[in-house]
């Protein structure tokens, strides 16, 4: 089922939080809504599932305008950050609840619950209470409950935020697997970029109630449309250098770093620009040598992360396979891969 938000507007007490937002989620795709806290991700989700009323615009499920339909009639499955399992019911009853309230027969309920429990790998937990489950198991139950009545749409509001790192990893694949198996249209709200990138077909990056860019993860990473998007994606994050155009090249006067502008771009001399360099593009392979002093080094197991202070105090981050020979305080001269540099105007737009 394709979901369309047309000029969706949401106001809280006269405070417009989302203003005329447009978004299309394709049938069967999994879309991530990614953005900093408070940007309106949950609000969008709640409007889609019928918990919030829209103040303007329309929400279409396929052809159907659901804007004024109560939740109960929208047939949407939702997984909440804190799972929102019914603590007084067994896992079976939790999952069976949506079926029970629509008066399915007992036999049907038992069958459907079992099917979905197998899909989510919790068949052996059906007798337990949520309190007796681990976080990951609870998460699966929440998922099973959301899916059991075959909703048209699956909404996930930071479903992994409460899990520890390892479980998060595991549930990521799990959720994606189930979404792919059921072919359901899904929207995942998150502010974790790794989650968004690893789980979804496309990512919509939001900020201040607006969608900044919507793209496949890889495209978003390599072709961010704004410096905000560039800074938001990538871990360790991209570093920025400020400079100006000089004879068709980029020059950071403080450090003397000079980079060729991307092909086909012409900018007036002296225009202020910002260049973004991802840490993997600053290290041993590259074409522009940059000198600086290592001010911080940390081991992350298989890789090391370095902060290199350039003479004017600007910082460039570098990530490299683990090595022993560089320590904080060392002067280094590493290479910058100019082909991978991203250029932005002063107001953040990509050149």
């Amino acid at each position: 089922m394709q979901i369309v938000l047309k000029d969706f507007t949401k106001t809280f007490d006269g405070n417009t939080v989302i203003d005329r937002m447009n978004l299309t989620v394709r049938d069967g795709e999994m879309l991530a809504l990614l953005g900093p806290s408070g940007c309106g991700k949950s609000t969008t989700l709640f409007a889609i599932c019928g918990i919030h009323r829209v103040n303007g615009g329309q929400i279409l499920f396929g052809e159907r305008d659901v804007s004024n339909m109560p939740s109960q009639q929208r047939n949407v499955g939702v997984v909440f950050q804190n799972y929102a399992l019914y603590p007084h019911m067994s896992v079976f009853d939790n999952i069976a609840f949506p079926l029970k309230v629509r008066n399915d027969s007992k036999a049907d309920i038992a069958r459907d619950v079992r099917t979905i429990a197998e899909l989510t790998h919790i068949a052996e937990l059906l007798g337990r209470r949520p309190g007796q489950l681990s976080g990951g198991q609870q998460q699966r139950v929440a998922l099973a409950r959301a899916l059991v009545r075959k909703p048209d749409v699956l909404l996930l509001d930071e479903p992994l935020a409460n899990l520890d790192a390892k479980l998060r990893l595991e549930m990521r694949s799990e959720i994606r697997r189930i979404q792919l198996e059921t072919g359901i249209t899904a929207i995942l709200v998150t502010h974790d970029q790794v989650e968004a990138m690893s789980m979804c077909d496309r990512i919509a990056i939001m900020k201040g109630g607006q969608i900044l860019q919507i793209d496949a993860p890889k495209d978003m990473y390599h072709n961010p449309r704004t410096s905000f998007v560039a800074g938001f994606l990538g871990n360790p994050p991209i570093s920025f250098l400020d400079g100006r155009t000089m004879d068709g090249r980029f020059l950071d006067e403080g450090t003397g770093v000079t980079l060729p502008l991307p092909a086909g771009v012409t900018v007036a001399n002296g225009t202020g620009l910002t260049v973004g360099i991802r840490p993997e593009h600053f290290g041993h392979a590259g074409d522009v040598p940059v000198r600086g002093k290592v001010v911080f080094a940390e081991t992350q197991g298989r890789e090391n992360l370095y902060d290199v202070a350039l003479p004017n105090g600007a910082l460039l981050r570098s990530v490299q396979p683990a090595r022993d020979d560089v320590r904080p305080g060392d002067e280094v001269s590493w290479q910058l891969n100019s082909a991978a540099a991203l250029f932005f105007t002063e107001d953040g737009r990509r050149l």
Binding site: D13, F46, I51, R53, S71
Partner: protein, 438 residues
């Protein structure tokens, strides 16, 4: 139906049982009380309305007030006349025909000014009814008087009076009929009386004193208990908190009698004081300071229990890391209480203060069952006085109107205070917007 209306209806449906009971047992009584406050309602006027009765006493006082003596005298004459008219009336009322014939035969034309005399005459008749009640009913038919007759409406009374004393001017009749009304009348005198009486101000003083001191007792003891039990080992803490909850849960009848046992003559303190050679008397009623002390303790113990529960709850809600942090920061126990615990208890304290002020203002059961406001009226508080005025009198004369006026004032003060407190508590924060908008 539009969507908002539907969700509103759900809300109202859920609320309706509460509305039903609250309107019935809070709102209506308040309205009625407000109405009564402007009447002179009492036992003798009744609540549900009165009738018109002209009595001897009434006529006496009317005469003293200068109502024409001729009219008054005419009205105060009771006379029993046997004539055609009265016989016809008796016949119509169903008096035994034989008996009536006998009356007509023997007493026709006679008049009696005393009921008893007429009655005696009738009793001597042969066909008199065997039942005294029937006799009296027959006697009534011959009476030419409005004295002591209860008329349901003013019109009836006016008609009867005019019929009896045709010469009476209409305004005099009106005056008499109006004065003969036994039911309640509208008046603002309850309030003027309250304002002008010096007792009122004493009562106000007592009430303020009572509320202020009991409240302080409640808060301080409650705090002390909560904080100390917070630090004590679980066993001791739960023993003390259990102990201190007893006053709150013991039925008031028993609780107050236990205090009597404790403080009356022959009671525990009395016996102990005697043994120690200290003054021994009925501390509860015997002297003003002891009476107040006991009133305050009786109520303060109950309040302290309440405060303790609240404060303990709030204490448990303090993140234990903050306490750890303060200890690691080097704070002593006292510093911990002073700097960490008390600031956390700000809201609960404010809450206890406001809630208890209102409870204390309007409660009087405990005082009523212990000192009953004595000695003299020294421990009488507003609520108690209002109750005693309206509903509880040894001499049986209940002054609903005045009592209601007092209650109304209490309601107004209470509402004003709660509005103030609601402000103080930033009431709006209590109300989060429903997150489900459908």
């Amino acid at each position: 139906m539009s969507m908002p209306a539907r969700s509103y209806l759900t809300g109202l449906a859920f609320l309706s049982p509460a509305l039903f009971v609250l309107i019935g047992f809070f709102f209506l009584p308040v309205v009625l009380t407000a109405v009564f406050a402007f009447t002179n309602m009492s036992t003798s006027t009744g609540i549900s309305g009165g009738s018109y009765v002209i009595t001897g006493n009434l006529l006496g006082s009317l005469k003293a007030q200068g109502v024409a003596p001729t009219v008054v005298d005419a009205l105060s004459q009771a006379s029993f006349v046997v004539d055609e008219q009265s016989i016809a009336k008796a016949q119509a009322a169903g008096t035994d025909a034989q008996f009536l014939a006998e009356i007509e035969q023997q007493l026709s034309g006679k008049a009696f000014s005393e009921e008893r005399a007429f009655e005696r005459e009738l009793k001597s008749l042969r066909y008199r009814p065997r039942s005294i009640r029937d006799l009296k009913l027959a006697v009534d038919q011959f009476e030419l008087s409005v004295l002591n007759t209860r008329f349901a409406s003013a019109a009836e009374a006016r008609e009867a009076v005019s019929e009896l004393v045709p010469s009476a001017p209409a305004d005099v009749v009106d005056e008499i009929v109006d004065a003969s009304y036994t039911g309640w009348r509208w008046t603002t005198s309850n309030f003027t009386r309250l304002v002008s009486s010096s007792d009122t101000w004493r009562l106000v003083g007592n009430t303020i004193f009572y509320v202020a001191v009991t409240l302080s007792f409640t808060v301080f003891v409650g705090l002390f208990l909560a904080v100390t039990t917070f630090y004590l080992p679980a066993g001791a803490a739960s023993a003390f908190s259990m102990l201190w909850l007893l006053p709150r849960i013991t039925p008031v009848v028993l609780y107050t009698v236990m205090w009597k046992w404790f403080t009356w003559e022959g009671g525990f303190v009395y016996t102990a004081a005697q043994a120690l050679g200290l003054p021994a008397f009925n501390y509860m009623k015997g002297s003003v300071p002891t009476a107040w002390t006991i009133v305050i303790m009786v109520n303060g113990f109950i309040g302290a229990a309440f405060a303790m529960i609240l404060f303990s709850g709030a204490l448990k809600a303090i993140p234990v890391q903050q306490l750890w942090a303060s200890e690691a920061d080097g704070a002593s126990r006292w510093q911990q209480i002073r700097f960490i615990i008390l600031p956390h208890l700000r809201w609960p304290i404010l809450f206890v203060v406001s809630y208890q002020t209102l409870s204390l203002l309007s409660s009087y059961q405990e005082i009523w069952l212990t000192t009953n406001g004595g000695p003299g009226r020294t421990t009488t508080v507003w609520a108690l006085e209002s109750f005693n005025t309206a509903l509880n009198s040894y001499t049986g004369n209940l002054q609903y109107g005045l009592g209601a006026a007092m209650a109304l004032i209490l309601v107004i003060v209470g509402v004003a205070l709660s509005i103030l407190y609601l402000r103080l508590f930033r009431f709006d924060e209590l109300l989060s917007r429903p997150k489900i908008e459908f």
